[in-house]
């Protein structure tokens, strides 16, 4: 299973906030079991999507030099279900950023495809990230930043290219 729980960034304000979209497709494997005949997006994946949106926001603020890892979710509230065929919008705001780590506040709303107005609130969560201790993590993991190595960082590139004016 690919571990990317956002499809694209819609907005990105460095060091401030990020907005990403996640389309819920019935073709995704987990919907077969969660639940047969009633495809509800699992809450844990929703949190992962919020954490990926927030984690990239936190990582980008330091030019991806830090190894940003999800450390703690002190609070999460789920208000309603999100179903296959709907779109989730993740809105994440950076609350604190320090050398040791960061915290963000995330909200997920759900809408029907093509709907003009923002949809109802699905979930909200406060998420903590730790910067793996520079000195220690180098000993254990080496120089390579395994957190922002591939797909997560490409997502942001996709957001940047989507934001550029089109040629011709």
């Amino acid at each position: 299973m690919r571990w990317i729980w956002i499809d694209r960034f819609l907005e990105f304000q460095s060091g401030k906030s990020a907005k990403a979209i996640k389309n819920l497709s019935l073709a995704e494997d987990f919907f077969a079991d969660h639940f047969p005949g009633y495809p509800v997006f699992p809450g844990c994946f929703l949190l992962e999507g919020l954490a990926q949106t927030g984690g990239i926001l936190v990582g980008e603020a330091n030019d991806f030099r830090e190894k940003v890892v999800l450390a703690k979710i002190p609070k999460a509230h789920f208000h309603r279900e999100a179903l296959a065929g709907q779109q989730l919008i993740y809105d994440v705001e950076l609350l604190h950023l320090r050398p040791e780590g960061a915290s963000v506040q995330g909200r997920a709303t759900v809408s029907e495809p093509g709907a003009a107005a923002p949809g109802p609130l699905v979930a909200e969560a406060e998420i903590f990230f730790a910067h793996l201790d520079q000195a220690r993590s180098r000993q254990v993991f080496g120089e390579h930043n395994f957190v922002f190595s591939g797909e997560l960082k490409h997502l942001l590139g996709l957001a940047r290219s989507a934001g550029k004016p089109k040629d011709g």
């Binding site: 450390a71 703690k72 002190p74 609350l95 320090r98 050398p99 040791e100 915290s103 903590f128 730790a130």
Partner: protein, 132 residues
């Protein structure tokens, strides 16, 4: 200037949120790790919340030093904090109550210094402009 009691009440609320404990579990002498179950990332959470709650800046390592002695044999010998180590503690953490610790200054007991009272005293000092 808030009274000590007001500070304590706010500190308790902060700990309820950060550590997901019940308010009646929190006493002035409760240790953060032993009694309230705090883990390493919780200390960062507590620092963020205290900064927001009291409108102060808490520099890295000031309230919760990450490594006070750094394996220095002058500060720690045979698992016990030396007199020089105690002096170092006093100067780095003037808000810590070392009376009990000094009787049996085992390094492994150092986490017991970090109590609800310690945070309250630290905040009080910070608001008075006297801490560090």
């Amino acid at each position: 200037m808030p009274t000590q009691e007001e500070i304590y009440t706010k500190v308790s609320t902060t700990l309820v949120e950060a550590l997901n404990v019940d308010e009646d579990e929190i006493k002035p002498t409760s240790t953060l790790q032993g009694d309230l179950g705090a883990e390493s990332i919780d200390f960062l959470d507590i620092v963020f919340r205290l900064e927001r709650e009291f409108g102060i800046k808490i520099p890295r390592g000031e309230l919760f030093p990450e490594s006070i002695f750094q394996g220095d044999p002058e500060f720690v010998q045979n698992g016990k904090v030396t007199d020089k180590g105690l002096a170092e503690l006093r100067s780095k953490m003037p808000f810590a109550d070392l009376d009990e610790f000094e009787k049996n200054p085992e390094l492994s007991h150092i986490s017991d210094l970090f109590t609800v009272d310690l945070i309250t005293r630290y905040i009080q000092g910070k608001l008075n402009g006297t801490a560090n």
